[in-house]
């Protein structure tokens, strides 16, 4: 075998640290996966541009919170508002015309959008990397020999809150109901007088806002803010798939599971194993249970 295995260690504090790191990473994955899930659930679109959306969020956070030096809450509000407008632009400018097109064409158009965002960010922000954000609490504390950062706890809390809010929104509001109806059957929904166009626009706006939140959070834990952070979009795929792609709660569980697995692969096998292990897990889940652990089981209609 030409692949070298790292050393397995049984030291509990190392493993605890890996677990904590994994959960922290998993929380980030959950934010990203939530964005995938929102879009996929309502519009059946696999948004390969979500990583770029997130990068957009991180750069905007930089602009509003650092360069413009706005008050934190005002800055976050402006950030999310701008992201929301971008979401509407994506829908009304592009995705709207793609309703009814083939699956792959739509995937490719999201790749086109990703390319545009990447190019524009490079043009407007330049290739130099920026220091990561430092607006959330920066300290840490020790638990059983392992370090827990405050910022990870904040991320955790925000993700849980977002999932809860979305859950309540879908369950108890009229718009949420209409969004679920469109997700189930767009034609029937349209026939009932629900405007799929509006629902889709709301969905894209919500996904963009989630990307804004994600960018803000991820901007605090990434090494530096530069063009490479879009990769988080791809790296969160396994999390979204394991969680089932159609379930809000699933995105959290999937995120945590994959985060922990990745972190352990990273610690025990080596960094290069991180992605292959995550994607192998995804591969196996796809083959055994394509709808993920919590996804809805739609029957393929012939």
């Amino acid at each position: 075998m030409l692949l070298a295995f790292g050393n397995f260690t049984a030291d509990p504090s190392v493993n605890l640290q890996l677990l904590i790191g994994g959960l922290a990473l998993g929380a980030i994955y959950a934010v990203v996966a939530l964005g995938f899930v929102l879009v996929y659930k309502s519009t059946d679109v696999l948004n390969l541009a979500h990583g770029e959306f997130l990068m957009l969020g991180a750069y905007f956070a930089l602009t509003f919170l650092i360069s413009e030096n706005l008050n934190f809450f005002l800055g976050v509000f402006v950030l999310l508002l701008v992201m929301l407008v971008f979401g509407l632009v994506v829908h009304y400018g592009i995705m709207r015309r793609m309703v009814g097109q083939g699956f792959f064409a739509i995937v490719l158009i999201t790749l086109g959008i990703a390319t545009i965002i990447r190019a524009l960010l490079l043009i407007f922000y330049g290739p130099t990397e920026r220091a990561r954000l430092d607006l959330l609490p920066q300290g840490s504390f020790e638990v059983g020999g392992a370090t827990v950062r405050h910022v990870d706890l904040v991320i955790f809390g925000v993700v849980a809150l977002c999932v809860l809010l979305f859950f309540l929104f879908f369950k108890y509001t009229r718009l949420g109901l209409h969004m679920r109806a469109v997700a189930d059957d767009i034609e029937a929904a349209a026939a009932m007088g629900i405007d799929p166009d509006k629902v889709y626009a709301m969905t894209w706006a919500a996904a963009m806002v989630m990307a804004g939140v994600g960018g803000l959070l991820f901007g605090h834990v990434t090494g530096a803010i530069d063009r490479s952070i879009e990769a988080i979009g791809l790296r969160a795929f396994p999390a979204a798939v394991v969680g089932g792609l159609t379930s809000l709660g699933g995105s959290i569980v999937g995120g945590l599971v994959v985060g922990v697995i990745e972190q352990f692969a990273n610690g025990h096998l080596g960094t290069k194993w991180r992605e292959p292990v995550a994607f192998s897990v995804m591969f196996v889940v796809l083959l055994v249970r394509p709808t993920g652990l919590w996804g809805r089981k739609d029957l393929e209609r012939v």
Binding site: F104, L108, T115, A119, V241, M282
Partner: protein, 446 residues
Amino acid sequence: MTATENPAAQQADQTYRPSTLQRFLPFVVAAVVPFILGATTDDLNFWWKAAITIAILALVARLAWKWTPRGELTHREDMRLWRTPSDRSWAALTMFGLLVLPFILASDFTPPMDFPWATWFAVVNLVLIFAMGAAAFNLLVGYSGQISLAHVAFLALGSIVGGIVGVQWSGGNMWLALPAAALAGAVVGAISGLPALRLKHLYLLLATFGFHFVMMLVWREYLQEYFGFVGIRFKGVNSPRIASWLHWLPGIDPDENGEFIITGQFRWYWVLMPITVLSILFMVNVIRTREGRAFAAVRDRDVSASLLGINVARSKLMAFALSSAVVAMSGVLASFYIGSRGEDSFNVQTVLNYAIIIVVGGFSSIQGAIFGSAFFWFLPEWFKWAREELWFVRDIEFLSDYPSEIDLAIKGFLVVIILMFKPDGLAGMWRDFKNWLSRSLARRNP
């Protein structure tokens, strides 16, 4: 009596059968004349050469048009690759163009406004390599409807096979690496297609993407094990060469040390062009066969296809194997042509690039890949030239400050715009143009 005879007479008028010689003559001319031109017109001015070339092009196309069977076609005639007058003309034209192109590009010529003549040759060769890989990709995702993002994995596989067979075992034997890569590509491709038997759409896309990452790991491990950070060098001692027993062939004069190394754009062109053309023709041919039509049936509806007696599993795996084999071969060619492959040679951006190529080219037809990759490689060249030479572009500072970013943005916008408004891409526009042209030509001289 006369009333019944007349239609029959008209039928006879429309039916036309050229002799075998006539059928092949335009193609023979298209095949031979470029070499004669290339060998004999050294002392002619470029413009003279261009004029002669265009005149011959027109003649060849005209003859191919004229000497095409018409009327009630037999089944065999109907199944030919180039069936209609316009098909045959375009085929002859393309053949002529492909053969005369290297002589033109190698000629010493300065176009007006310093258009970058010399770099064009490199671009043309890259277009050939990418067209081959993208066409195979298109066969899989466009024609067979099996969504996959694993094609770059097969380029990497091609590099690995090229490294093992072409470098480690035989020190530059690309000719051995090509079939080996095809074989490896077919086998691994079929394996990578296994999820397609169970998954569709999104899930298939993700599964193949997972495969991509696994392959990237294999690639990195392989590099580290045998080559280290520098990556594989396919240049120098590892350059492909023509075996000595073939040195008698016309046009092949060995160097002083008795070797004929494939180096330089001109020689590479003569390696890449035939391989690309043959493999694309091969794929176009496959989709006309029973096997290939089954691909389309499976794409449209696989449950119904199985009712029609098509073995769906076999069809899907065939599509994966075939496509991957060709992609792996193009990976070998790219490795040897570019000369080195390292850690960063394959990444997600490469996946995107191929996606851009097939979208812009039009992903409902295999030929679209050719347009797409030509566009992909010519756009930056053209843009660079425009930035440096065109007075009204040169002065826009913004453009020269961010050349590659703007390139990228243009590509992104094009993908979006084409998918929104012209989903058939450049190939679709080309088809419309050809239809328009042959209609207006047919009106003038039926």
